[in-house]
């Protein structure tokens, strides 16, 4: 009965075969199918993240990996063993689990909880062996839980508790570790800490499969991501290949901008709401489809506009935008025309000419919460003679003004300019453009632009026919007192999912 093999998770297994083999797996809760046609293999030493929207079956798949639920068809083999049809003593020596939140409302001390990880290896009658004690001690040190090993588990913080559960799984000394949303209830630094720990364990040769809510963190720490959505495995591969705007759009039903984290170089995700939910059919959706829209602006708000207009307008260009910034990144990734300026450098005359020519070619120019600097002032001059300009503002003009009254005057002149009303197509194009802009603005929390657009955007076609000058959404001329700056237009996926 006594079986205290000293071998680490790697030493006892052959390095060739995959540690996890999932073949044609179909999982169901009673008559309700959850996942079907799922096949993948996990190699030793891999850190695989399961991502996907809520209800996609991430936890269900993990439970199948632990043998807790029986597949309707197909099978799961861990290290060559059919995990569903083996005894708990066998399966618990193959897979250890770090649960999302355990029902540890009992005041076991931390050491006792970690010792429970040795349960599968211990005989009923013998006291813990030297091997057991060494595994427990190492696990406590590894997770930096040794210093509070004698405290009660219900008296430590959430992050510490998570580390204790990690320690228990480490003490269990299994070839595969399964983490079920290990970061779900933690704040940001504990999330990082938890995933760093998981990463270290993988670097030491363990294999981890983890359901991770946060796409950016999953992309940052995992070697590989499996995207579960719509009842099946939708994508499987490198994080950069899985976390793309198009896969996310189909999996999460969200329009997302995938950028790159400037520090870690891993993908970042910014979502803007459900894809293809353009309900307003008053303005003709196709009205904008042929149009060329140029956007002037920087930052995440501009990127959001860019992402949305890309789907709505025929051609979208942007600039000037600093090299390496989020706008440039996005434009490059999506293959959009972008006038790039040197990072941290001034907008050169050449840049201005490029922007002016794009604006001239465009059917409409959007000023996205532009900050009025000296460089932009010159830019505004060149806008005076070109296509109709619409401003989408998130801050009052005063807060964006860095270049004196003359710049403000220029700005007002640019957006107040009478627009040539030639033809019905133009009217519809405007209506549609404003609708899109309104949608983007209203998806973010209270902002001046949304208010301004809202007050005029209700029945755009009718109003335009009466008073052409009103069709410009220019809140800088009628700032509302409540229009405070600092609202973040971005809504991360996570927030959406927690709603």
């Amino acid at each position: 009965m006594k079986d205290n093999d000293d071998a680490g998770p790697l030493e006892e297994s052959s390095p060739v075969s995959p540690i996890v083999t999932v073949s044609d797996l179909e999982l169901a809760y009673g008559p309700i199918p959850v996942l079907e046609d799922v096949s993948f293999a996990v190699d030793r030493g891999e850190f695989v993240g399961l991502v996907g929207p809520n209800g996609a079956g991430k936890t269900t798949l993990l439970r199948a990996l632990t043998g807790a639920i029986e597949p309707a068809t197909g099978g799961v083999r861990i290290d060559g063993t059919d995990i569903t049809n083996c005894r708990s003593r066998t399966s618990s020596r193959l897979v250890s689990v770090v649960p999302q939140d355990t029902s540890l409302s009992f005041s076991f001390d931390v050491r006792t909880v970690v010792e429970m990880g040795r349960h599968p290896h211990r005989s009923r009658f013998a006291p813990p062996s030297a091997v057991d004690r060494r595994h427990v001690r190492r696990a406590l040190e590894r997770t930096r839980t040794a210093q509070f090993a004698d405290r009660a588990i219900d008296a430590v913080s959430g992050g510490e508790r998570q580390r204790v559960l990690f320690a228990r799984a480490i003490a269990q000394d299994t070839p595969l570790m399964v983490l079920d949303e290990p970061t779900a209830s933690l704040d940001v630094n504990h999330r990082i800490e938890t995933l760093e720990l998981a990463r270290e364990l993988v670097d030491d040769g363990r294999t981890i499969v983890a359901a991770i809510h946060d796409l950016e963190l999953a992309a940052r720490y995992c070697d590989r991501l499996c995207l579960l959505a719509n009842g099946t495995l939708q994508a499987d591969g490198n994080p950069a290949d899985v976390v793309t705007a198009s896969t996310l759009a189909s999996a999460f039903d969200a329009e997302a901008v995938v950028g790159r984290n400037p520090v870690t170089g891993t993908p970042t995700v910014t979502a803007f709401g459900a894809a293809g939910d353009d309900e307003g059919d008053e303005p003709d959706e196709s009205a904008l489809a042929e149009a060329h829209v140029h956007i002037v602006g920087t930052g995440s708000f501009t990127t959001g506009l860019l992402a949305r207009l890309e789907g709505a307008a025929g051609r979208v260009s942007v600039g000037p935008a600093p090299e390496g910034g989020i706008v440039t990144e996005h434009a490059t990734r999506r293959g959009l025309e972008c006038v790039q300026t040197e990072a941290f450098g001034p907008v050169t005359a050449g840049d201005r000419t490029d922007v002016a020519s794009l604006c001239e070619a465009a059917d409409a120019v959007v000023l996205a919460d532009v900050t009025l600097t000296a460089g932009n002032q010159l830019l505004l001059e060149s806008l005076e003679s070109v296509a109709p300009v619409v401003a989408v503002d998130r801050r009052p003009l005063e807060e964006r003004l860095q270049a004196g009254d003359e710049a403000a005057a220029r700005y007002r002149a640019a957006v107040d300019r009478q627009v040539d009303q030639s033809g019905d197509g133009m009217v519809h194009m405007w209506a549609r453009l404003r609708q899109v802009l309104l949608e983007v603005s209203s998806e973010s929390p209270v902002g001046p632009a949304s208010g301004a657009l809202d007050s005029r955007g209700r029945e755009p076609a009718k109003r335009e026919a009466e008073t052409p000058s009103e069709k410009r959404a220019d809140p800088s001329t009628d700032d509302e007192p409540s229009s405070k700056a600092g609202t973040n237009p971005d809504r991360s996926l996570e927030q959406r999912q927690n709603d």
Binding site: G67, S88, R89, S103, S105, F108, M116
Partner: protein, 365 residues
């Protein structure tokens, strides 16, 4: 202190307490005997088997007044104690005290297991209907002796308890799984049904009504060494086996899925714990009647003192339960008027439990 050290220290302390309580209890009664004489008389009761024919069921200690043929015994000590005192202690008080200790030991251990098993602070040894089954069996034997002519009261109660436990388990089991919540509800329903049966039998029990009611209150009146010989093996062996499952009980507290992930064969372990706890309970209830509150209060008291780890909790609860029932039975026996001990355990236990509830955290396991 290390955990094995703590278990040892606590067990030793509680064993000393138990011995002290037993001596004190044997000294009290209508005839007061000084503790030294009591200790001597108790020592005189100890015998060792002499001759090798003794059967497996007979214990090598405590066998004196009912010698079985073929079992030769010889007293270990020969202290000089007046005959009357020796008789009072050895033949009258000690069997009753020993049975109280045995029943308290078993009920408290079974209560600890049931509370851990059900993860429910309200669980007691009878939660799946063991006591109701025993009561039904006992009342049937008392009220309609003609119906069950072949079985003794003890056996009738014991069989009733075990049959009920298995019935509840069978009802709650579906497809090889026994959800704890279903088990609990099935237990409640079966208890209600048996309650109705018992009431019916009581109504028609005629002159046996008083005896049946007294039995159901739980009493240790007229105990002889035979009662002890019936209950003690079940209690000792049952609790000893339960003692090897304390680590599994700890892991089961985390929930069944996590227990499975940590290598506990959940369904098999549940069945085994349930069977053992039920047998231990049934053996105690069969000889002593339905003594409430010991199995509920004592585990909670000990959990406050030693914590939730069953490796310490189970032995300490069992020993404390033995002392608790010896003390309460002394009150029942030597108090102002002889009453069934079940009345005393509830009357003392409930206020004490409420006190603990208000003072400290008996809100969960």
């Amino acid at each position: 202190m290390s955990r094995p050290g703590r278990v040892g220290a606590w067990s030793l302390a509680l064993s000393v307490l138990l011995v002290a309580v037993i001596i004190g209890s044997a000294a009290l009664g209508p005839v007061r005997i000084d503790p030294l004489t009591v200790a001597k008389a108790m020592a005189n009761v100890l015998v060792v088997p002499w001759g090798f024919e003794w059967s497996a069921l007979t214990l090598p200690v405590l066998e004196r007044t009912v010698p079985h043929p073929g079992v030769g015994t010889r007293p270990v000590f020969g202290f000089d104690v007046p005959d009357t005192h020796q008789t009072i202690v050895g033949d009258v008080r000690l069997p009753r005290i020993a049975l109280a200790a045995t029943v308290g030991f078993g009920l408290a251990a079974a209560g600890t297991v049931m509370q851990g098993f059900f993860r429910n602070p309200l669980a007691d040894p009878s939660i799946i209907g063991v006591s109701s089954g025993a009561a039904a069996g006992a009342v049937a034997a008392i009220a309609f002796p003609a119906l069950i002519p072949f079985a003794s009261l003890h056996l009738s109660a014991f069989v009733g308890a075990i049959v009920t436990a298995f019935l509840v388990y069978a009802i709650a089991t579906e497809g090889g799984r026994t959800p704890v919540a279903t088990l609990l509800l099935a237990g409640v329903a079966v208890q209600a049904f048996l309650g109705a049966m018992i009431s019916y039998m009581l109504v028609h029990s005629g002159e046996n009504l008083r005896e049946a009611v007294i039995w159901m209150m739980g009493h240790l009146l007229g105990t002889n060494w035979g009662d002890v010989a019936f209950a003690l093996p079940f209690a000792l062996v049952g609790v000893a086996i339960l003692g090897t499952y304390t680590r599994d009980l700890n892991v089961l507290l985390l929930g069944e899925e996590e227990a499975h992930q940590l290598g506990v064969d959940v369904e098999r372990t549940k069945l085994l714990l349930l069977v053992l706890a039920s047998i231990v309970t049934a053996a105690g209830v069969a000889v002593a009647g339905v003594i409430g509150f010991v199995g509920l209060v004592v585990p909670h008291m000990m959990r406050l003192v030693v914590g939730p780890d069953h490796r310490i909790l189970l032995p300490t609860s069992a020993l404390a339960g033995a002392s608790f029932l010896v003390v309460t039975d002394t009150v029942a026996r030597a108090g102002p008027a002889e009453v069934p001990v079940g009345i005393v355990t509830a009357a003392l236990g409930a206020p004490f439990f409420l006190y603990l509830l208000k003072r400290r955290e008996v809100h969960s396991l």
